[in-house]
């Protein structure tokens, strides 16, 4: 076999390997996003029940409750992009967080079995979402790195791959859900 032919074959093999690794990275991002989507949906499903249970008591948080319900309606639209879902998730997380804090101010709610159960279910879903977000961010980082690093960046360019957005992990989430605190409440 002539030298140029060997070089060409090696070059093609390298090209295929790089192409495959890029596709694998993109698929990994998509797969994990699908899991996040499932978890987010689980959380959105809890919202109507939560709002119904607490709205009787929560006079001062009416606005937040309405906001959460509105966000849920928005999230249920089918044609949302990944970036829009990420943005919505951030808003829902913060709104739900403030409702949960507000619950602490209502002794009737703290004693309500349904609310306590909802609170625990929500905290478990939040823990799952937090894990999925971290997994997604790592997958996106690997993907984005491949988009910038030589030589995969040339192929990525040719394939029309673009950068993806990572989830912003709220500071309180880094500290993780404090289950013990929940049990004391």
């Amino acid at each position: 076999m002539s030298t140029p032919l060997i070089i060409l074959i090696v070059f093609i093999i390298l090209l295929v390997l790089m192409y495959n690794s890029l596709v694998a990275k993109k698929n990994q991002v998509d797969n994990i996003f699908a899991s996040i989507d499932t978890q987010l949906k689980k959380r959105y499903d809890l919202i109507p029940n939560l709002v119904a249970s607490v709205s009787k008591y929560m006079e001062y948080e009416k606005e937040t409750l309405e906001k959460v319900t509105k966000l849920r309606t928005q999230a249920n639209k089918t044609n949302l992009s990944e970036d829009e879902k990420i943005a919505l998730d951030a808003q829902v997380t913060s709104a739900l967080g403030s409702i949960m804090i507000a619950v602490e101010n209502y002794p009737e709610l703290k004693a309500n079995e349904n609310v306590v159960h909802l609170q625990h279910t929500l905290s478990e879903v939040e823990a799952q979402i937090a894990a999925a977000r971290r997994a997604y961010n790592q997958a996106v980082t690997d993907y984005n790195n491949a988009l910038e690093q030589i030589p995969t960046n040339f192929i990525a360019n040719a394939m029309g791959y673009t950068h993806k957005q990572v989830f912003e992990i709220p500071q309180e989430e880094r500290k993780n859900v404090d289950v013990k605190k929940l049990f004391e409440s």
Partner: protein, 321 residues
């Protein structure tokens, strides 16, 4: 749970009469050991001289050497047998009960070999699993068991048909119920590749060297420096290894002062700490009253039983209640 200093107090105050008693036994054992080993050595030398004079072959000398080593080992074992039993019954058992009354202690049993095999934390086949000092029970409603464990793999056979063994793990093996539901398998192993080759090359190596599970890059720099994580579920690995859990594992590693490997499998957490020696055995050549010796027993027990509190395994999630 009692603190290490409370346990040290208990050791030196409550157990003091027994310790003194054991110290007397130890001194007697030591002097007997010197005499008996001396006599055995003397006989061995005389035999060697006789062999030499009669022009025996090299094989005979090797045979004599092997017999000599076996004889010394038997003498040692026989002499410390009662002493060991007394130590385990009157020091180890009260010490364990002082930490938690609900725990049971069996000096002659060990964590089941199936636990070790299912975790697959160490490379090599677990052909022989030895161990003792099994502690078992429930603390704060969380099941835990741990013991001393030595796991060996057969490497071959010699001419006489005797098997040769290579030790793949020796140390403390802890199995406890985990406080979260999970379905996959996640392993946390000591990191060597990243330490030697740096982040970039290290990650590439880790990614390619392990096949059963995929590499999970964690988002804690300190944790990534000490450990490498493999799992068959990227999300579940992070569900288990929350930022808090990673911090706790780092603290555990710092306290253990030995390599720590962890597996999350079948609802349990397995923690293997490589001490590379037989634990919870009575010291023969140093006094049990020595602070350093006492601390070895106390700290190891405290670390093992304290795992539940340290890793907050008692804070169960709603769905596990």
């Amino acid at each position: 749970m009692k603190t290490v200093s409370e346990l040290t107090d208990f050791y030196y105050k409550k157990l003091y009469p027994i310790l003194q008693d054991l110290e007397k036994d130890r001194k007697v054992i030591n002097s007997k050991l010197i005499t008996r080993c001396g006599i055995t050595t003397f006989i061995a030398i005389i035999l060697a001289v006789i062999f030499q004079k009669n022009h025996f072959q090299t094989d005979s000398f090797i045979f004599l050497g092997v017999i000599y080593i076996i004889a010394i080992a038997i003498i040692y074992k026989m002499l410390i047998m009662d002493y060991t039993k007394k130590f385990k019954d009157h020091i180890m058992r009260p010490l364990i009960y002082a930490i938690d009354k609900n725990l049971s202690y069996n000096p002659n049993s060990h964590v089941s070999s199936s636990h070790f095999r299912e975790a697959q934390l160490f490379q090599g086949k677990a052909d022989r699993v030895l161990g003792n000092d099994l502690v078992k029970g429930k603390i704060n409603d969380v099941s835990i068991e741990f013991s001393d464990l030595t796991v060996q793999q057969i490497t071959g056979e010699n001419d006489n048909g005797d098997k040769n063994y290579k030790t793949i793990f020796q140390g403390l093996y802890i199995v406890s119920e985990f406080n979260k539901n999970f379905h996959g398998r996640t392993k946390v192993l000591p990191d060597t590749a990243q330490k030697i080759f740096g982040d970039y090359l290290g990650h590439i190596l880790q990614d390619t060297t392990y096949t059963a599970e995929k590499l999970v890059k964690m988002d804690s720099i300190a944790f990534e420096k000490e450990f490498v994580v493999y799992s068959n579920d990227q999300i579940e690995a992070r569900y288990i290894l929350t930022p808090t859990m990673m911090e706790k594992i780092l603290e555990l590693k710092k306290r253990a002062k030995h390599p720590v490997s962890i597996a999350f499998i079948n609802k349990n957490i397995h923690i293997a700490i490589e001490y590379n020696k037989d634990l919870f055995e009575p010291s023969v050549f140093h006094s049990l009253l020595e602070y350093k010796i006492a601390m070895e027993y106390i700290q190891t027990l405290h670390l093992a039983i304290g795992v539940i509190e340290e890793l907050q395994l008692n804070q169960k999630l709603w769905s596990k209640l």
